[in-house]
C-alpha cells in the first residue's frame, strides 16, 4: 500500500486516491496556433522515466483536490507532495 500525504488532509492510503498521470505535460495555450507536433506531444508522448517522476493524483475519496506527487517509479518511494498550484523541485 502506498501512503500519500495529501497537502489538505494529511497521510492517507493509496485507495483514497486516483492517478492522473505525468504532471510535467503542458497543454498547449488556448487561442494560439498549435502545430500537429505540439498536439502529439501533449496527447501521446510520454517520457515515463525510471526514477523520480512528478505526477498528479486526485484525492477522490477525500477532499477531491488534485495534488502533485513526486515519486520514485522504481522503488515507489514518495519524496514530496504539494498542491497543484505549488512547485516541486
Amino acid at each position: 500500500m502506498l501512503y500519500i500525504k495529501c497537502p489538505y488532509c494529511g497521510l492517507r492510503a493509496q485507495k483514497e486516491f486516483s492517478y492522473g498521470g505525468d504532471a510535467t505535460v503542458k497543454r498547449p495555450n488556448i487561442n494560439e496556433e498549435v502545430s500537429s507536433e505540439d498536439w502529439d506531444n501533449f496527447v501521446y508522448m510520454r517520457k515515463s522515466p525510471r526514477g523520480k517522476h512528478l505526477e498528479l493524483w486526485q484525492h477522490i475519496a477525500g477532499c477531491r483536490q488534485w495534488i502533485k506527487v513526486q515519486r520514485d517509479t522504481a522503488t515507489h518511494e514518495i519524496f514530496q507532495t504539494a498542491k497543484v498550484t505549488e512547485e516541486i523541485r
Binding site: 486516483s18 508522448m45 510520454r46 515515463s48
Partner: protein, 418 residues
C-alpha cells in the same frame, strides 16, 4: 542438435539424465554482428529465430540484461487469443494463431499449446450487442467466434454465480473456441534453443548502456560487456522501452506500468478454458498443474518495480469472487508483477524508426505473450527487408500523429484505466 523425442528421453534415462546437451550456449559477445536484438524475452528470441530461419540472417546476437525468459514471458498468464474487432489486430493475431498451432513441432519443444477456448462474459443487453458485433467482425476475418446465451454459458462454467442475487447477472458471452493457453517458459526456451542452433549468440547478463548513432544511422551499441558493432539493431524490451528510448533521445507514446497476477493453490480440474468477467477487470484460467491463474487491473501508476501493491490484488479478487464464489475457499499461492509498455491506444508498435537501422517492437500493453510468434515473425521481416510486412503495416509509430489509432478498447490515452 540433439532432437527431443520419446526415444532420446528413454536413451537419457539410462544415464540418469546427466548427459543432455546444453540447450543453448553461453558465448562471449563478438565485436560485430549483422543484427543485434536487444531483449531476450519471448519477442526477442522469436525475432532472432525467424531472422535465421525465414531470412537466413544468422550473424545475430540477442543482448539480455538479466536472463532469457526472466521478464514478461515468464510473468504473464499464458493466454493466447485473437478475438479482436479491428482488422489490423485480428489479421495480425490470427496469423499468430496459425504459428501457435504448429509451434511445438516446429521448435521440437513442447510448448503445451492447449486451445480450450476463451469466454468473455456479458452482463447487460448492451454488452451482448457489442459482443455480437465483435463476433461478426472476427468471423469476417476468418476467426471462430460463438455468441453464447446464458444457458450455454451455464453448461460451460456451472460453478459461476448464476443466482438471482448477483449485482451483475450473466447474460451470455462471446467465445473463441480456438483460443487457449501455453507453457510460457517453454516458448522462450524453445525459441532460444533453435535460434542458438542456427548460430544466434544469446548473450545474457549484458546491459545496454548506450547507442552509437552517426549521421542518423545506427553503428552499434555500448554494453556492460563492451562495445558491439551492428548494422541493424532491434529493440524488443517491453517495459524497458522508455529507458532505452531516452538514451536515443526519443520520446514514445508509451507509459510503463506495473501489472500483477496471482495463482491459487492447485486443485482438481475445474475450469476448462479462460473466462473473463465483463463487469469488472478479472480473468481466470486453470493451469495444467491445477492452480487457478488470475489477473486483472494495472496498479494504475507509472512503475518499473516489477511488483505491485495489495489493494489492486484485493480489488481484482473482489471481482473474481463476485463471479466465482468458490474462490473464497482457495488459498493464494503467490502474486507477482511485471512491467508493461502501455501504448496510448492499446495496440503494439512494430516499425522502423527515424534512425536508419534501428527498429522498434513495443507497446504490447498486457497482451504481448499471445503475439510472441507473430511479433517475432513480422519484426524479423521488418528488420531483414527494412520495410514493414503487410501484417504490421498498420502497427506503425506514426499512427498517433496521423490519427489512424487502433483503439480496440476505446479508452483513449489513459492507459492506467485499462
Amino acid at each position: 542438435m540433439q532432437k527431443y523425442s520419446v526415444f532420446s528421453l528413454i536413451k537419457n534415462a539410462f544415464s540418469n539424465h546427466q548427459n543432455w546437451e546444453v540447450a543453448w550456449k553461453d558465448p562471449t559477445p563478438k565485436s560485430e554482428y549483422d543484427v543485434v536484438i536487444i531483449g531476450g524475452g519471448g519477442h526477442g528470441l522469436a525475432t532472432a529465430y525467424y531472422l535465421a530461419k525465414e531470412h537466413n540472417i544468422r550473424n545475430v546476437a540477442i543482448i539480455e540484461k538479466g536472463w532469457i525468459g526472466g521478464g514478461n514471458v515468464g510473468r504473464n498468464t499464458t493466454i493466447i487469443r485473437s478475438n479482436f474487432m479491428y482488422d489490423a489486430n485480428a489479421r495480425f493475431n490470427e496469423f499468430g494463431m496459425d504459428l501457435w498451432r504448429n509451434l511445438s513441432q516446429e521448435l521440437n519443444f513442447n510448448v503445451m499449446f492447449s486451445p480450450r477456448g476463451i469466454i468473455n462474459l456479458a452482463h447487460s443487453d448492451a454488452q451482448m450487442n457489442a459482443y455480437a458485433r465483435r463476433g461478426n467482425s472476427m468471423r469476417l476475418n476468418g476467426i471462430d467466434a460463438k455468441l453464447l446465451d446464458r444457458d450455454e454459458v451455464k453448461k460451460l462454467i456451472p460453478m459461476a454465480d448464476f443466482s438471482d442475487e448477483v449485482r451483475f447477472p450473466i447474460f451470455g458471452g462471446l467465445m473463441q473456441p480456438s483460443a487457449g493457453t501455453a507453457r510460457h517458459d517453454a516458448v522462450a526456451w524453445g525459441y532460444a534453443r533453435q535460434a542458438d542452433d542456427m548460430g544466434v549468440d544469446i548473450i545474457q547478463h549484458c546491459e545496454v548502456t548506450g547507442f552509437d548513432v552517426v549521421n542518423g544511422k545506427i553503428k552499434g551499441i555500448r554494453t556492460s560487456r563492451g562495445d558491439i558493432k551492428a548494422k541493424k539493431v532491434g529493440l524488443c524490451v517491453a517495459g524497458s522501452t522508455n529507458i532505452l528510448a531516452e538514451k536515443l533521445n526519443m520520446t514514445l507514446p508509451i507509459e510503463t506500468h506495473v501489472l500483477q497476477a496471482c495463482v491459487s493453490e492447485p486443485v482438481k480440474p475445474l475450469l476448462d478454458g479462460v473466462v473473463t468477467f465483463g463487469a469488472g477487470h478479472f480473468y481466470i484460467s486453470q493451469s495444467d498443474k491445477g492452480e487457478m491463474v488470475m489477473g486483472g487491473d494495472l496498479d494504475g501508476y507509472n512503475s518499473y518495480a516489477q511488483r505491485g501493491n495489495l489493494p489492486t490484488i484485493q480489488h481484482v479478487l473482489t471481482g473474481g469472487l463476485a463471479l466465482f464464489p468458490f474462490l473464497s475457499r482457495l488459498k493464494m499461492l503467490r502474486t507477482w508483477g511485471g512491467i508493461m509498455d502501455m501504448s496510448m491506444d492499446g495496440s503494439p508498435i512494430i516499425d522502423k524508426t527515424h534512425i536508419e537501422g534501428l527498429y522498434l517492437n513495443c507497446g504490447w500493453c498486457y497482451g504481448g505473450f499471445k503475439s510472441t510468434p507473430v511479433s517475432g515473425w513480422t519484426f524479423a521481416h521488418t528488420i531483414a527487408q527494412d520495410q514493414v510486412h503487410e501484417l504490421n503495416s498498420e502497427l506503425r509509430l506514426n499512427r498517433f500523429s496521423t490519427g489512424h489509432l487502433l483503439d480496440e478498447k476505446g479508452l483513449g490515452t489513459k492507459t492506467w484505466i485499462g
